[in-house]
Subunit: 341 residues, 2 copies
DNA sequence: CTGTTAGCGCATTCAA
DNA sequence: TTGAATGCGCTAACAG
């Protein structure tokens, strides 16, 4: 035993062969029984199950996949600190299970890049990947799309190898602006998503809606996290140029906006109205419920899984090559009110 | 082609053999080069890399694991809607990578039980599992622990087959109560975690601290989610028996408490002080920053990974069999203030 | 109904 | 420094 392998051998797990030997039958029979396939006598079926349970046998999913030539695996890349992504994951698990696929998650964190997250998904031999709000370049996404069926969620990108599911961002921002204008607001600022996925579309939707109402747009740099909303408000305060309403890029960003407004003694919605985007399940619980543009995570997840499977199974579904657009709606809660200026 | 397999064949991926053939060398050589092992000429190394890149070759992690007899995989079961778990995951990825292990995540959702989440981890042949705040019975956890190295995070459970990493919950609740008493509060209610992991310890910590100060404890049923905090406050309001301070089970629960207090026109901290537990990265952004008991997710993640690896590699580390206790500290922000009654 | 055989993609002897 | 052979745990095709 060399230093390299000293004590690094994990215990061997029970295999199908162990069960077969113990039950006094062939491995093929055990395989049949474990898969619930027909072709085994009730007596043997019973016996195999009993021995498997006694031995604590769990089939090795990797060996099975290797042999079958397919993994039945859907890979999901997501950002671990995004509450909205958690909502999507719930939906993906549900839809994938219903379709007979397993799910493998690969998280993006501060110390784990999207490249790495996607790389492990490839190494796991996923049959398709669902990328939730990827920030990678269009070129890299296209390359992934060229390698295996790829569904991009919550990001605008047009490429023949990429199937896109997203919300109608422009429509969503339009709803938000209309709501605020209806409340008498004219000085409406958009704290944007900077380089985040779909940030550009939301900027466009904001600009278009403002133009429609003959209002002057103003965009302040934000981002997808709380801290970005917080910093944006600090900047507005330092310029002594606070608007009467703020449209945040998403719910976490809106939370940051609210937090800093509150800390600065500015009341919401009396002095400033705030709107988010996503309708994360947390949005309703931000002390005052957050008025926000809702995009249905469950519906998007189901669409994404459906498309992924269509691509895997080469169903000639033309829909797959069009953007799957989910229509958002405005959820009015407590952070918006009439303009008092 | 039968109906069963119609169009269900996913495209074949590039294999090591493809690279070998294309590069005009043996598969063994390609294997060496891809693993960065010594024993190949610079020229060949170069050539193999080039061909691999051209063909878009990614090693099959399952085949590799199967052959090596070990997966180098750490399984993590977590609850997808818990922000604190996201913080833990960040730390686990970092620590695992540093130790040369890969991580496989298995989420618990409304429609996906802990049993199922752990089952897939077993089928994936993880060498150890880290269970974050498991709610399963002690018996089932022990059974898992009997099958493979198991580290339980954020839950009190004593069993020879389970390695535990947790915060000093009693200490944490003590800090919170002391802080409130120091501010003059006497009617302090604990909105508990009901059957959640470590809820019992936190109840105990609360009771002990209240007794120390000669105060009457009062516990209202809560839970780990926003809705539970919200409902608890509704109950207190309906009984017209609002305390001057509320200790919530965790941050999301505290958020629900704050939300409903605000909706009911009760000001924080003027009329009621509120304290959470966890110090999720969101806590600082709840409009008024949430005063909370901090447990260091990164530190706990590092401990958990260290223990998991010790167990896998059979290092005789006696620490592994003792509870790994992380000392919490109180982070005072804006939701606590002097008692005005 | 049951057992035997072959091979999925890879890493690892061992020989050349 | 390189290549041919072997087997990880499992399933699919076939033979009995």
């Amino acid at each position: 035993m060399t230093i390299e392998d000293a004590g690094t051998a994990p215990a061997r797990r029970t295999t199908l062969a162990d069960v077969a030997r113990q039950a006094g039958v062939s491995t093929a029979l055990v395989s049949l029984v474990m898969r619930g396939a027909p072709g085994a006598s009730p007596a043997n079926r019973e016996k195999v199950f009993r021995v498997a349970r006694e031995l604590g046998y769990v089939p090795d999913s990797r060996a099975r996949a290797l042999r079958q030539g397919r993994s039945q695996l859907l890979g999901v890349m997501f950002h671990v600190q995004q509450p909205f992504h958690a909502d999507v994951i719930e939906g993906v698990y549900e839809a994938a299970e219903a379709a007979g696929y397993d799910v493998v998650l690969s998280a993006v964190t501060d110390s784990r890049s999207e490249d790495k997250a996607i790389g492990t998904l490839l190494a796991d031999r996923c049959e398709a990947v669902i990328l939730v709000a990827p920030q990678s370049s269009r070129e890299w996404l296209a390359e992934v799309g060229g390698r295996l069926p790829t569904v991009v969620l919550v990001r605008h990108v047009r490429h023949p190898d990429l199937s896109v599911v997203r919300a109608a961002d422009m429509k969503g921002l339009g709803l938000a602006v209309d709501h605020l204008v209806g409340l008498g607001h004219r000085r409406i600022v958009h704290v944007d998503g900077a380089g985040s996925p779909s940030a550009e579309q939301r900027r466009r939707g904001y600009r278009a809606a403002m133009a429609r109402h003959g209002l002057e747009p103003r965009i302040v740099r934000g981002g997808w996290a709380e801290i970005n909303g917080s910093q944006a408000v600090e900047q507005l305060l330092s310029e002594d140029d606070l608007p009467t309403a703020i449209l945040a890029f998403n719910d976490p960003c809106a939370n940051g906006v609210l937090s800093t407004l509150h800390r600065s003694g500015i009341s919401v919605p009396e002095e400033v109205s705030v709107i988010g985007f996503d309708d994360t399940h947390l949005a309703g619980f931000s002390h005052i419920g957050l008025t926000t543009v809702r995009q249905d995570a469950g519906q998007m997840a189901r669409m994404a899984v459906g498309r992924a499977i269509s691509l895997i199974e080469r169903k000639d579904d033309p829909e797959v090559h069009r953007d799957g657009v989910v229509v958002p709606d405005l959820v009015v809660r407590g952070t918006t009110g009439p303009c008092r200026q």
